[in-house]
Chain length 126, copies 2
DNA sequence: CAAATACTAAAGTTTTAACTTTACTTTCTG
DNA sequence: CAGAAAGTAAAGTTAAAACTTTAGTATTTG
C-alpha cells in the first residue's frame, strides 16, 4: 500500500521547480529532451538529468526513437503523490469527525479535565 | 490560482522523509515538538527546524502555550499540493480524451504534428 | 562518407539543505 | 527560589543536489 521508496522518489522529483516546469510542459503534450530544454536557462545535460529523475520516479515515461528521446507524462507517479496526500487528508477529516461526535455527545465517558467552561463560547478554529 | 511560491514551499516541505513522517504522526492527532522528536533519531533542534519548514509551507499549524508548542495538521498546505497534482492529471486526461476523439473519428483531418515544430524558430546551433 | 544532431556518461564545482553543537530564554515544579 | 523542561537562535559541519564542462556514442542528413 504505497511503497515508501516510491513516495520518496516522487516527492523528491516534484520538489524541484525546474522538474515541475517540465511536468507542466509535458501536460500540454509529449516533447523531446531538446524541446524541453529550449526555454530553460541551463545546459541540455542538466535537463537530461532532470528527465532521468522524473522517469525513475514514475512521473514521466520516455522512449528513444532514433537519436531523439521522446518524453510524456505518466500518471502513475503523480498518483502515488496524490494518494499519499489524500490519505493524510482523509485521516485529518476522520479525526475532525470523531471530535465532532465527542462534542455532540452531551454525556461522554471521556475523562477530560473538567474545566469550568463558559457554555456561550464556541471553540472553533477555521 | 495557486501561488507558485506556495507550491514551491509545500513540495519542498514534503520532499523530506522526516517531515513526511511528522505529517503522518500529526495525522493521528496534535503533538508537542518534544513528542514529535521522541521517535526520531535526531536532536530536538533538528525537529524544531523541520516543524518551522512545515509551518511556513502551510502544512501544519502550531501554537505555543506556556513552554510547549503544540502542532497539528493544517489542510491548507496539502490542498495546494493536491490541487497542483490534480491539475496536471486533468490536463493529461483531457489530452487523452482529445486523442480518443481523433481515433474515434473515422474521417479526421488529422494534423500530423501534435506539437508543431515552430516554423519560425531556426534550429539552434551550438 | 563527413558533418551535424540529439543525446549520454563521467567528473568536477558549487549551492543548498540537513543536522549538530553551544548558548540562551522562558516556563513550570518541587 | 533553584533546577528541570521545552523550546529557540545562531553558527558551523557534513552530505546531497544541481549544474557545468568535457568527451564521447549512435543516428540522421547533405
Amino acid at each position: 500500500m504505497l511503497d515508501p521508496g516510491a513516495v520518496d522518489r516522487v516527492f523528491h522529483a516534484l520538489a524541484d521547480p525546474t522538474r515541475r516546469a517540465l511536468v507542466e510542459r509535458l501536460g500540454r503534450g509529449p516533447a523531446s529532451v531538446k524541446e524541453l530544454a529550449a526555454p530553460l536557462p541551463m545546459s541540455l545535460a542538466a535537463v537530461v538529468q532532470h528527465v532521468q529523475v522524473l522517469e525513475q520516479s514514475g512521473v514521466i515515461r520516455t522512449e528513444k526513437i532514433g537519436r531523439v528521446r521522446s518524453c510524456r507524462l505518466d500518471p502513475t507517479g503523480l498518483d502515488v503523490a496524490g494518494r499519499w496526500i489524500a490519505e493524510r487528508r482523509a485521516l485529518w477529516e476522520r479525526r475532525l469527525d470523531r471530535l465532532g461526535d465527542l462534542l455532540a455527545e452531551p454525556d461522554s465517558p471521556c475523562e477530560q479535565r473538567a474545566q469550568p467552561h463558559d457554555p456561550n463560547t464556541t471553540e472553533e478554529q477555521s
